[in-house]
Each structure stands twice: as C-alpha cells, then as structure tokens.
C-alpha cells in the first residue's frame, strides 16, 4: 500500500514535468497547427547554455534559470523563423521535417560546446526529502507541480484576459478575419512560439536541476515526452496537456514498479496507440484553450 502511494508521488513528479513540456507543445500546436519536433532540442540548447554558464562563471540558480529560458526562447525563435514562418500557409509536413533538420543542428551545436556524455547541474534543492508516514516527497516535486499549475493558470489568464490572448484566439478561430481586424498573424505566431519556448525552457531548467544533470538525450526525451503527453491529453488543450502529463507520469511510475523500465515505455506507447486507434473523442477535438 505504501509502495502504491510512494509510486503515485513519484509519478506526480515526473508527470508534472511532462505536463510543463506538453503545455509548450500544445500551445504551438493549438495556434500554428504544426508540430515542432525541435521543441525539445531548443530546450536542450537552453539547458546546455545554462550548464556552460555554470561551468565558466559558477552562476547561481536564478541566473541559470534565466539563461536556460533565454537560450530556449532564442533557439525557439530561430526555429520559428526558419521552419514555421515560411510554411505558415503551406505544407505541415515540410514544416515538421524542417524542424527535424534543425533538431539535428541544435543537438550538434550543444554537444560541440559541451561534448561529454553527462554534466552536473546544480541541485534545485540541496536538503533531504520531506518524510511523512513512511513516504518521502522530494521538494523538487512540489516545485515542479506548482510550476505546471502556475504555467497552466498563467497561460489561461493570458489567453482569456489580455489583448495578446484575444489576438491569439482570434487567429486560431478566424485567421483571415483577424488579419482584417488589424491583428498581425505572423507576429502572433512568433509571440506564441516565444511564449511556448519560455515554458519549455523553464521545464528544462527544473528537470535538469531536479535530476542534477544534463545529457545529450535531453532534446529527444523532451520532444517525445511532451508529444506523448500532449497527444494523451488532446491536441491544443491546456488542461488536457496538464492531465495528459500527469496521467503519463503516473502510468509510468506504476508500470515501472510492477513490470520494469522496458514495460514502462511499452505500456505508455501501447496506451497511446490504442487510444488513437479507438479515436477517443477528447483526442480528436482540437480546441485551443
């Protein structure tokens, strides 16, 4: 019983990191109707920039977070300009393949700068985990969960209550009408991309600081987990992204405990496959907020 509870706590931690990644992913998909395979690698570049800063200047955590977010936003902006702005009205496949090409580029750039297989990242919280009733809860979990909740709430507020958010929703529903009303569609796309990349950068920083390391796998890992969580929760839905992320985290924690690490991934992919094949309703609706 306590194993079950402990696994649930661990699953919530992993799940909230997936939720953050899925929020960034789903924001881009909801607005642009395009999949950005370079989402993870852009995050990885940000985290590598932070690691590089740490190695050379020994900066504090807050500064590292800023570097990771800024790095991700810059890399994301570059991806948007080269892969998504030119294909705004054109081919979704071309945009996706272009973003894959830049994935290769960003990953090589990061590993050229820091070629080792693993680098230490300063811990988010150096103290011991909280203990209660035989269960241990990492403080990092609470921070991650809070960050996912806050990011979801902030995005919801931005989309509902700000001029920018109204512009975004107008562009989603009626791009032509929005353009006629004086909203710049390209600029809205770019800003959405930057916002999503900032969330991704925050996710990357929290993940690196929780696991206290960065590896070249971070890019692919972030893209796959974010994509999986987004699909599970329903494309383009913010609460869906959070729920999808948490569900994925819980599923992984429990299946790993009972069946081992290979079964963990197998079950996650099997679930996605079955849900897609069954065309469950929430996965085929494409709301934006």
């Amino acid at each position: 019983m306590s194993d079950l509870a402990q696994n649930t706590l661990d699953g919530l931690f992993a799940g909230s990191s997936y939720a953050l990644l899925a929020l960034g992913f789903t924001l881009i998909f909801g607005v642009l109707r395009r999949v950005n395979l370079s989402f993870g690698p852009a995050i990885m570049l940000g985290c590598y920039a932070a690691t590089w800063t740490q190695l050379n200047f020994g900066a504090g955590l807050l500064l590292l977070a800023a570097v990771a977010i800024l790095g991700s936003v810059l890399a994301g902006a570059y991806v948007e300009r080269l892969c998504f702005a030119p294909h705004r009205r054109g081919s979704a496949i071309a945009a996706m393949v272009a973003s894959f090409a830049l994935w290769m580029q960003l990953e090589e750039l990061a590993t050229l700068a820091l070629p080792r297989h693993i680098y230490d990242f300063p811990p988010l919280y150096a103290g011991a985990p909280l203990e209660f009733g035989g269960l241990s809860l990492r403080v990092e979990s609470l921070v991650m969960l809070a960050a996912a909740g806050a990011a979801c709430a902030l995005l919801w507020w931005i989309l509902r209550r700000t001029r920018f958010g109204i512009a975004v929703r107008a562009v989603i529903d009626q791009p032509e009408a929005a353009q006629l009303a004086g909203i710049s569609v390209p600029r809205t796309f770019f800003a959405t991309f930057a916002l999503a990349s900032a969330i991704g950068g925050l996710a990357g920083f929290l993940i690196s600081a929780s696991y206290e390391q960065v590896t070249p796998m971070l890019g692919m890992w972030s893209t796959l987990k974010g994509l999986l969580a987004m699909m599970l929760g329903g494309l383009g839905s913010l609460p869906g992204a959070v729920l999808g992320g948490l569900a994925l985290g819980l599923l992984e924690a429990h299946s790993q405990w009972f069946l081992g690490p290979q079964a963990r991934d197998l079950i996650a992919y099997a679930l996605l496959f079955v849900l897609l094949a069954a065309r469950v309703p929430w996965m085929t609706t494409r709301s934006a907020s």
Partner: protein, 295 residues
Amino acid sequence: MDDYAIGVLTNIGLVSFLALSAYLLLIAGEMSFGQQAFFGVGAYAGGILTAMYGWPLPLAAAAAMALGALAQFLLGLPTLRLKGLYFAMATLAAAEMMRILFELFHFQRLIEGETVGPDGTQGFRGIRWVFERGVEPIEYLGIVYALLALALAAFLFLERSRLGATLRGVGEDPELAAALGVDIDRLKLGVAAAAGALAALGGVLFAHHNTYIEPRNFDIMLGVHSLAYALIGGLGTALGPLLGVVLDIGALEGSRVFQGYRMIVFGGLVALLLVWRPRGLLDERTVQWVKQRFS
C-alpha cells in the same frame, strides 16, 4: 574502389529502401514515423532464418518481405483512417513498441557449439550467410543495387500506370477520389503492405551486410531520417528519395569535409531547401517540366 567507398555506397542503397517505403506512403497522403519498425522486422526475420535455420538468403528475404507486408497491413487496419498527425503518432507508437519488443526478444539456439540468435539489448550477432559464402563486398553492393533498380523500375512503372495516378489522386484529395469511386481503404492497405515489404527487404539486406543488429538500430531517428530523405529529394518521382539519401550519406559523409559540423551544415541546408521547395528538389512540377522538355 576502396572499402570505405563500397561501405558508403552500400549504406546509401540500404537506406534507400526505407526512404522509398516512406515515399510510397507520402504520395498516398500518409506520413509515417514508423517505417524503421518494418526495416527491423525484416532484419530480425531474415537474420533468424539464415543464421538459425540455415535458409538461403533469397528465400529468407522473400519470407521477411512477406512478414513486413503482413505487419504493416495489420497495423494499417486500425490506423490508416487516422488523419495526418494522428496517423504519424500511431506509427511512431507502434514502431517504438516494436523496438522495445526487440529489446525483450531472447531467442537463441546452439549452432555448431555457438549460441546464435537475438539476445535482447545485447543484439543479434553472427548473421554471416553472405560472409560465409565468400560474397565480396563489391558483389554484395551489386546485389543491393540490382534489387534497388528492380524496386525503382516497379515505381517508375507504377507512376506511369492508372494505379499510380489514382494513388496520387488519393494523396492529394481523398474526398474527390472517394467521390470518383476509388476504394480508399483497400488502396491504402495495399500501399501499406507494399511499403512494409520494401522496408523489410532493406532490413534483410542491412542485417546481412552488418552481420550484427541491435534494437537501437531501429529507433525513431532512422524513421524520421527516411521521411526527411523522401521529402528533401522530392515527391515528384521515386528518384527523389534516392537523391535525398545520396545528398545526406553520400555528399556529406563521403566527402568528410564537414567532420564534426555535418549536422549543423546539413540541418540548416535542409531547412532552407524546404523554404524554397516544400515538396523537395524533384517535386511534381519539376518532374512535369523535365518530362515536357524531353518527350
């Protein structure tokens, strides 16, 4: 030709089967992230049949192709009606499941005092049918390209046929095609089976070229690369995917000029190329233009 050049050329040939497989689905309007799974099915099935049961390679290749076709046909039944990204994600999920199943797959036999067979993440060594028969690398290269030429001939024949036109019609406008009486489900299942067989053939040849395979060979990177090759080279003709493979593996790996910076150069070039030509170098319009000039 030195061994290095032969190796690079053989690799170009092997990956071309996979790129052609992705291309076939693309012109029918489906984007697959999972063709590497059938490449893997072919590699494992072919390797098991020759190395563990002593089948001759041609027979093993035929059986592997049948298995690849069957696998993608069965996978197509619940997924081919999914649109765009949903289909892509379903194929990705299936291919990753397949890769994990390869990791869990232990099936070994004692053959002449040696354990042979897939050993999970440790891979599958000793696929030596080609090696044991003294086939020279240059001869194997010839075999690979002869088969590739056959596949290409089949494609060029298809493109000129009524079936090829129907296929492109379904890819471009499925509603219109359905309204004209095309049985889209049946057509796409056929395409899926053919794509699975092509990928499996590439896999068999890959396994017997390397003599060693492991689950990692068949990860998502291979699948997305083959998709990218098809799109870079162009969707106008079956020569397109080949051009994509040659550009990546041939020009960059072969020349070794950009050692260490290869993906930085290539990645940027591909993104720029797609801005200029969203359907690849040899896109439909270019192919049309060439046909008109030279016919």
